[in-house]
Amino acid sequence: MIDKRVGSLADAVAGIEDGATVLVGGFGASGVPVELVHALLDQGTTDLTVVTNNAGSGETDVAALLRERRVRKIVCSYPRSAGSVWFEERWRAGEVELELVPQGTLSERMRAAAAGLGGFFTPTGADTRLAEGKEVRVIDGRRHVFEEPLPGDVALVRAARADRWGNLVYRTAARNFGPTMAAAAALTVVQVDEFVELGELDPEAIVTPGIFVDRVVRVGTA
């Protein structure tokens, strides 16, 4: 019997170790697994490498991890926003390392890890400072930069609904990095609004098949 459902947020993040590389879904405030990140915060896990598109805003999720000095390094495309106060504070003080990655390269590096590939050549970033020190190859007359895979020890993802096998569907643009991150981590933990019975999700419409998912936890009132 397969049952990936866990009963609490604490169980969902149990065993995530200090020093882990954690992929955190979301784009701006859309699709962020806020409750899972807070559970990680409550658990005391620290020295994290966080891979996420933005660096949090206000006092919640990744911003809270930064505020509490749990983040050693952040890998992201756009750490700056109106409310990215804690990232900027820690970055200015030299307390958090930033690896800035073009957004599509960030996503594709995780996909490469998920797909078992040793990296890829992309025209994105060629002849820019973000390609400094990287191997360049001319392919079909165009300069391409070699990018390495980016696997996670853990992925924290938010979806709308899950069954006990961990099959997932998402809501509108909250899908964003979820499917790629779910496939790119050794341990994938998903928070959902609703559990449904096995067979209830339309198999033609399942976005993330359960093979990529290890734990699902229900959050909220749905």
Binding site: S77, R92, P102, T124, G125, A173, T180
Partner: protein, 225 residues
């Protein structure tokens, strides 16, 4: 009417160059004004890097869905026929040449089509690149919407960019408040200029050497199509 165009008028001019049926990604900020100017007779499918095709206008007040946002994190809507997909596919569309047109802002554009629009050398703020590089290298046509000079009068169209590059050799056409210029193998070619401006005036506000088309047209104040 003469003198520099308002940004909305430049957006209106760009809208005339968006073909019916095009898949279009508008950069964050001012380029989103172009969508307001594209005529109702055209069917244009707007793409957003966070996984949306068929993006519609902003919702009515009170109708916002906090998860249905555009690249600038503003609430949007989905039109009938629209689709959601994940980030890796969104960037596959951008990088892989599936998006027909992008409109981007710029700090600087060089005469070889280099684009600088993601960073200045201001070290007091953390760098942030987002999807700018993927879009610049991948869209079939890269259009730039910008003022001709900075607020303090420094030229933005240069022989070489001095700010960090977003991508090299990618810009097809630049629309400023003074002129429409194509990037050609031999540099900037002026296609249109606002009325009341001489070629010498325009060259005086441009660091790159300008060439002029045989039939330079008047850059008309744009309007909603």
């Amino acid at each position: 009417m003469s003198g520099p165009l308002a940004v909305r008028d430049v957006a209106g001019r760009i809208a005339r160059d968006i073909p019916d049926g095009a898949y279009v990604n508008l950069g964050i900020g001012l380029p989103t004004l172009v969508a307001d100017c594209v005529g109702e007779d055209k069917e244009v499918v707007y793409h957003s890097e966070n996984g949306i095709l068929g993006m519609g206008p902003a919702p009515a007040p009170g109708e916002e869905d906090p998860e249905l946002i555009n690249a600038g994190k503003q609430p949007v809507t989905l039109l009938p026929g629209g689709a959601f997909f994940h980030h890796t596919d969104a960037f596959l569309m951008m990088r892989g040449g599936h998006v027909d047109v992008t409109v981007l802002g710029a700090f600087q554009v060089s005469e070889t089509g280099d684009l600088a629009n993601w960073a200045t050398d201001d070290a007091t703020h953390p760098p942030a690149v987002g999807g700018a590089m993927d879009l610049a290298v991948g869209a079939k046509r890269v259009l730039v919407l910008t003022t001709h000079t900075t607020r303090s009068g420094e030229p933005k169209l240069l022989p070489r960019c001095t700010y960090p590059l977003t991508a090299a050799g990618v810009v097809d056409r630049v629309y400023t408040d003074l002129a429409v210029l194509d990037v050609t193998d031999s540099g900037f070619l002026v296609r249109e200029m606002v009325a009341g401006l001489t070629r010498e005036d325009l060259q005086g506000r441009t660091a790159a050497q300008l060439a002029f088309a045989d039939d330079v047209a008047v850059l008309e104040p744009g309007q909603r199509e």
